[in-house]
Structure formats: C-alpha cells, structure tokens
C-alpha cells in the first residue's frame, strides 16, 4: 500500500535523524575529553546521509520490496579540523609550554546541529501524520 510506502520513507528519515542525534550527543558529552582509546583528544564526529537512489541500491530495493527514496546513514566520519589549544599548565595532558589540546567540538555549533536534528525529526513526523490523515480521509470516501 502506497500510504505505507511514504510512512516507511519517513521512518528511514526518523531513524537517520536519531542516529545523528546520538552522534551530536556524543560530541557534546565528549567536548572536554582529552584522552581517547586512539590517543589524543576526542575528535568531533559527523554523520553522512545517503539517499537510496543509486542504480545498484535501486535494483536491490526493488527486488527486496523495500521503499525507494529513503535515506540512511552510510558513515560516521571524524572532523579533521585542528584541536583547540588551551593554556592550562596544571592539566595532566598539558604539553611542555602548558597548552592542552582540547577536542575540536564547538558547543554552540553542536547546539545548532541539535536544533537542526530535532526539527528534521519533527518534519518527518509531520510527514507520517500527513500520510496517515490522507489514508484516513480516503477511508471516508462514500461515507
């Protein structure tokens, strides 16, 4: 049923925005983390969205009965901008000159991304509700 198809597309958008939300939450939580498993401070992460409109995925999704035009998170990449240098000689991770490399996370930027993710999520929910009300209206035909 086609109404369900548009719902599935919106569901993929919701899923993608939720993953983005997780990544942003991770960035905010690690805004002050100077140590990671790989060594060095935390690097800001970002999501890469992909629309499933490439030829191969189109064929695959038609074959598997999935809905075309959905979005998905294909990768979570690291932001390679340089780390922030903060003068704090008392910090255990400070270098010889007393500077500490802090994560390249900008809290105001992350807040803006947070709002963007929330609004995109809401937009997808509005689309689901619109599809639902269209289906409900269709059921009123002849009543």
């Amino acid at each position: 049923m086609d109404f369900f198809g548009s719902m599935d597309i919106s569901a993929s958008g919701l899923e993608a925005q939720r993953i983005r939300m997780n990544v942003i939450a991770g960035n905010l939580a690690n805004a002050g983390a100077t140590r990671t498993e790989k060594g060095g401070p935390y690097r800001r992460k970002d999501v890469v969205f992909e629309s499933s409109s490439t030829e191969f995925s189109k064929a695959l999704e038609t074959a598997s009965g999935k809905q075309q035009g959905s979005v998905k998170v294909v990768d979570i990449v690291e932001d390679n901008t340089p780390f922030r240098k903060v003068y704090d000689p008392g910090h255990p991770d400070a270098d010889k000159e007393g500077y500490v490399s802090m994560p390249n996370v900008s809290v105001p930027n992350e807040m803006v991304n947070l709002i963007s993710a929330t609004r995109s999520y809401q937009a997808n929910i509005t689309a689901v509700n619109a599809a639902k009300s269209m289906a409900a209206k269709a059921l009123e035909i002849g009543r």
Binding site: M1, F3, F4, M7, S10, A11, L14, E15, R18, I125, V128, K132, A135, A136, L139, R143
Partner: protein, 102 residues
Amino acid sequence: MDLRGIGSTSYLSNLESAGKTAETSKPQGKDGFKDALLDSIKSVEAARSEADESVARMALGKGEDIHKVMIALEKADISFQLMVQVRNKVVGAYEEIMRMGV
C-alpha cells in the same frame, strides 16, 4: 496490506455477473461474502501482529525505536479501519440483497 486482494474477491463483480444471466452466476466457493471479509481480516492480522511484536521488543528493551513502534501501530490502525469499512460495505450489500423482493 494488499488492496488488490480485496478488489479481486469483490462482491460487486459477483453481483454484476449475477445480474446478467442466471446461467453465468454459478455458485463459486471462493468469492463469497465470507471470503471477502476473511481476506481483509487476514491482512489486518498481519499488520497487527507486526505492531504487537514491535511493542513487545520495545517493552523488553531490545533497542526498538519509539518511532518504529508508533509507525507500526499507525499502520495497524489504518489497516483495521480499512477492514471495518470493507466489512460495512459487505454487510451493507448483503442486507440490500436480503431486502430484495422475490
């Protein structure tokens, strides 16, 4: 849900053929009122059980997203409403026929 399933077992096509000639209206076991209803009920059942599983996964904390649960529930809701409409139409047609004077 398969809308064509309801269309193919349409009671209307039965009525149509019944109206043409008495000869062509052979009793067919497959396309009765009962089967039309049962088909739509089955398609609702599929959507309902999917919603059910989704809610169960959510309740058990198996990492199900809230939006997935809600969308599954919405799908089940729409399917159910469609089934109710089909039932109303089928029962309406049946009653209409029963009211026919002989």
